[in-house]
Symmetry: C2
Subunit: 146 residues, 2 copies
């Protein structure tokens, strides 16, 4: 999923988004870190390389990229947005124990119902919550040792 600086430049141009070092770097960060990072993680990750980077810029860049359809904003919990470079149809599973967000295949389009016949649907989101296999192992061990 990692793409070169040049490829990313082309993607932004195609979407008519003005080029800037910051925007390219945010986009690049998302292609490398596909674990649905928070704004803070993106900011901290890029801060070393771009010491003048402002968190406001990260927010406005992500908002611009999302508007252009290059990035998807994930709102699962109400306390912190996550960002995903994968814009194709898929679901998210958030483990309530470790906080990890997993991607999973899902044909969301198959769900479209008659209830929404006259609605203009722009964005479809599917997310599950629960406990991931890794954390389930930990829980089982904990209950066995009681």
């Amino acid at each position: 999923m990692k793409r070169s600086y040049e490829e990313l430049t082309k993607e932004l141009k195609m979407k008519n988004i003005r080029l800037s070092h910051q925007r390219l770097k945010v986009l690049e960060y998302l292609t490398i870190h596909m674990d649905h990072p928070t704004v803070d993680q993106i900011y901290n990750g890029l801060h070393k390389e771009i010491p003048t980077l402002s968190k406001t810029t990260v927010y406005s860049t992500l908002s611009a990229l999302a508007d252009a359809g290059l990035v998807r904003i994930i709102n699962i919990e109400d306390n912190e947005a996550r960002y995903d470079i994968r814009v194709a149809d898929h679901g998210h599973f958030k483990c309530e124990s470790c906080g990890t967000i997993y991607d999973f295949q899902a044909n969301i389009d198959s769900l479209t119902t008659v209830d929404l016949k006259r609605f203009d649907i722009k964005d479809k989101n599917l997310y599950f919550k629960g406990c991931c296999p890794t954390c389930l192992v930990g829980k089982n061990e904990a209950s066995l040792s009681k």
Copy 2:
């Protein structure tokens, strides 16, 4: 969907939730107002009847009811949670123009994928965004009059 105070009392007892006037009233409010209200709307709606009501109580009550599975928290936008008394499987459509949240039928269980075979799924959420029929009419009229 409206239920009597006595019926709601039974529901709370069945879930082993301690009874209080505030909790019953919050629950009752949700059975009457099924338009996915915010905490502020619930608080303001009940404030007349219960002048001593605190917003903290509304939060903690909703949290307790959600834990018991009597209420569903809807996080579509990141800025404000909405609450829904309908806990059965269904999707939400949020109109980005007027802000209304519509319910729609959807068999979310049919989506379960192999990717999540070993996951313990506790909660499934589906939401779409876009423009509702009412607002679409307004937009068409606006573009015609240009």
